[in-house]
Symmetry: C2
Subunit: 348 residues, 2 copies
DNA sequence: TCGCCGCGCTAATACGTATTAGCATCTATG
DNA sequence: CATAGATGCTAATACGTATTAGCGCGGCGA
């Protein structure tokens, strides 16, 4: 066994090269300012010793002395990850990783954050946020109080997904749900649908607000446009409700609900989209097997991940000017579940 | 805008509580040794100020001063990730994350490591390994020279997957491919197969060595047991070769190759497993659509991830005794592609 | 000869925490 | 009343790097 060998430090290098520790640091950082001059032969000598010893600067000390780490924190807000939820977040992480690699940053996943009252907390006993230069916040719902605290502390961060102000504007990279939903509503109206229903999950998250707002904004010319709430497993009741209302198109917030609704309709001998059009408003958050291609839209998750890193690095080094809020467009999916309503019956 | 506000430090807390910085540190770390005593009322006063200010110790300074970080590094060795390869690695990461969460560690992904000559390098200009207390190495092939350097530096690490010695034994958590392949060979022999072929990819990785070794060890009683190499897209040539040899069972290293081989057999009107049994030796490394359930085994990837963290934490704090090398058993998959060879023909 | 300036480097200090030796102060004991 | 021991805290230092003020030296002009 080798002895518990001490790290090679700049002092060691300095001694070997016959210079001071400061000189080593200057050479290492390639400082060539007018203020600082190192003779080429000295520089070479130091570099040679560095190469021989395989010395590498301790990033921790570096971070303590200077300001930056080149570490980007990733805080995943979802409580105790059901494995399906992970699949939903994975694309964000891919994008984040890709861009982090491009700008030469490492990624710190705050897996140590404890879960209190069913949700992870950023701020707790042994808060480790400052390990990173800044942080990306990922999660369906983010605690406004914590955002406020981040703003107050002046800690650089960016949320993935639009967020309401919290003691100041929140930097984010979100998806433009409102306009995507609006475009789907307009498509339904062009198909001749007159009675529309938004089937939500009773969520208060901004992502949900935006979808509902997009629905309302575009549905003004419909004969009827209403919003209802459903729950997992209540597909049959929801279907009853749609039929009773005479709705011909359902705009379903949750992908799994859409699948269940389509299955319920089939069981009753109804056709989709003939008897009922079903539009989905986003990618599955849990894996749901289905062979139907639903009409709806796709959340640009990888791109959101990439751009969140881009925005964050701007916030960190202050190069970003004012407000850092971006909404990316969602790509519509031409599926088979939005069609012309069957004129033969008025099921009311 | 708030001014670029300075971080709250222990000195600030100390001033507010009317004690010294050292006292704050002692209170914070709950030091109650016989050597160190703090009056309960002092302790309370300090704790109250800490709570009021929301102070959190700077982990960087902490790391510099003491020895540990509670950060576990993850180095993914594969070059420039094809997205399919990511799917293969994802389960490992899930396991790693799960266990890291349990022991209260954060995870640092070394995304900044540069790719040189088509592979990522641990050691380079601005090596950041020391940000973490230790590191998990992930990848099909790992550079022996780098392992050697890690061993030489005394840096705590663990490889996922068995590794040959590199200037000393390498700590790892691997899958017991050899025994899994042996059991499959034995099953084939029990089914009456006498001529077996191992279809490899010509790889030198340890994972490949182990499989071949397991094959050879169990196939001694076969009439013929040989190894051939194939390549992506060469399924037809490989099938020709198998038929010419009179092999009735193919043990296929790469999942995608197995799928291609089965498809080629079908195209020629051969049945699987009637005319040819096909056994797969591990999970797909790239996503391959197939509706066949292949006989083979499953790599316990999540468990490998979990246990690698467990081993690493042991190596870091020195609590682990001697050699840290684990091989986990692979679960056999009872598929439909291994059967009794059709006795009607001898296709040689 | 003196003063000045540019060059090449170093000494000193800061970053924020953990640790340890040791200084007062108080209590118990003979 | 002197002394020993326990108690509660602090001063000093270390960790490894980055930064900056400034020192010594040689050359050059006056």
């Amino acid at each position: 066994m080798t002895a518990p060998l001490r790290r090679v430090t700049q002092r060691d290098i300095a001694r070997m090269a016959g210079v001071s520790q400061a000189t080593v640091s200057l050479v290492l950082n390639n400082r060539t300012d007018a203020e600082v001059r190192i003779a080429p032969e000295t520089r070479d000598r130091v570099l040679r010793v560095i190469a021989e010893t395989g010395y590498a600067a301790d990033p921790v000390a570096r971070r303590l002395a200077s300001r930056f780490n080149r570490i980007i924190g990733v805080f995943t807000y979802e409580p105790a990850f059901p494995s399906g939820s992970r699949d939903f977040f994975h694309p964000f992480l891919l994008g984040i990783e890709e861009y982090a690699e491009r700008v030469g940053c490492d990624l710190l996943l705050f897996t140590s954050a404890p879960v209190v009252d069913g949700r992870r907390r950023i701020f707790h006993q042994d808060n480790r946020l400052r390990l990173a230069d800044g942080c990306i916040l990922l999660g369906r719902e983010i605690d406004g109080a914590e955002l406020q605290r981040l703003n107050g502390d002046g800690y650089p961060y960016v949320a993935v997904g639009r967020r309401n102000d919290a003691g100041g504007p929140v930097p984010y990279v979100g998806a433009d749900y409102a306009s995507a939903v609006s475009r789907l509503v307009e498509a339904a109206l062009r198909h001749g649908h007159r009675r529309l229903t938004y089937v939500g999950m009773g969520m208060t998250a901004e992502s949900s607000q935006d979808r509902r707002q997009g629905f309302d904004a575009a549905a003004t010319t419909a004969e009827s446009a209403r919003q209802v709430s459903t729950a997992p497993g209540a597909a049959d009741a929801t279907l009853d409700d749609l039929l009773a209302d005479g709705s011909t198109a359902a705009f379903v917030e949750d992908f799994a609900t859409a699948v269940a609704l389509a299955a319920a309709a089939r069981r009753r001998g109804l056709t989709v989209p003939g008897d009922l059009s079903i539009v989905t408003l986003g990618d599955p958050t849990v894996p749901v097997p289905t062979d139907i291609v639903f009409t709806g839209f796709r959340i640009p998750r990888e791109e959101m991940g990439r751009q969140s890193v881009e925005v964050l690095t701007g916030v960190i080094d202050g190069s970003a000017g004012g407000l850092q809020q971006r909404l990316l467009p969602c790509e519509l999916v031409e599926g088979s579940t939005l069609g012309t309503p069957d004129p033969a019956v008025d099921r009311r």
